[in-house]
Amino acid sequence: MDSLLALAAGLLFGAGLALGGMTDPSVVLGFLDVAGAWNPTLVFVMGGALAVTFIGYRLVLRRARPLLAARFALPTTSALDARLLGGAALFGAGWGLAGYCPGPAIAALPAAHAGTAVFVLAMLAGLALARR
């Protein structure tokens, strides 16, 4: 049952990314290019996602526990440290170079462009490196 729910959530997530144009790097780079022909699409995607999540989380987190798990697994760290901010800066730099962040890059894999696969492999290597 938990697998089915995760599959449905992943499907909805991937469909949302694609419908919002986020699996096309040129749309994302167009958003980051504020000095050029600025593309506001990402603002609508993020706005829609935040509106639903903001309200939905408040309703869901009133519950004592999730439907299929013993407890809510929420992050507990609160430090604004160099690891967080430095990591975010590195991520942003890579995002600006390719126009891919992790979700869209993975969702774009089945389109079978060599560049997407190379990006995802390098991203996995980076993730593994960060875990060492």
Binding site: L7, A9, L32, V45, V60, L97, A107, A130
Partner: protein, 140 residues
């Protein structure tokens, strides 16, 4: 290039939010893609079956949209292979060190009003904007 209308973009965002809420309601988990994927790398976290199924859904999502719209929404890579390798390493390393990406920090974290996520989102947007400015308007 796939240029969604603002309504399609808003709806796509609502789908992403719906997925995040569904995952929290069902499994009590944050829908952060970098974290979900990182925990599928060896050593694989013991409770990772749901992560594999989430990724399977993520991979199938765009095809579903393509079927409904009658056109392929997935664009082509926007850089050459050397740049994509460097970018992928930076994205993996950065989201690993920074504990999240556009989904975990930018959507789920901001929706929880997490100061860490708000700070991280400001930093990665600023960094991304600076890099695009340099590649397109300084050296481009």
């Amino acid at each position: 290039m796939f240029s969604p209308t603002w309504l399609q973009a808003l709806l796509g965002g609502a789908f992403i939010g719906g997925a995040a809420v569904l995952l929290m309601l069902g499994l009590g988990r944050i829908a952060g893609i970098s974290g979900i994927v990182a925990n599928l790398l060896p050593p694989v976290a013991p409770d990772s079956r749901w992560r594999a199924f989430f990724v399977a859904g993520l991979l199938a999502g765009p095809a579903l949209v393509g079927l409904v719209l009658g056109r392929d929404p997935v664009g082509v890579p926007a850089a050459g292979l050397p740049v994509l390798i460097v970018a992928g390493l930076l994205v993996g390393l950065g989201t690993g060190l920074g504990s999240g990406c556009t989904s975990g920090h930018g959507v789920c974290g901001i929706a929880r009003l997490s100061p860490r996520s708000i700070a991280a989102t400001c930093v990665f947007m600023l960094a991304g904007g600076m890099v695009v400015f340099i590649t397109r308007h300084v050296v481009g």
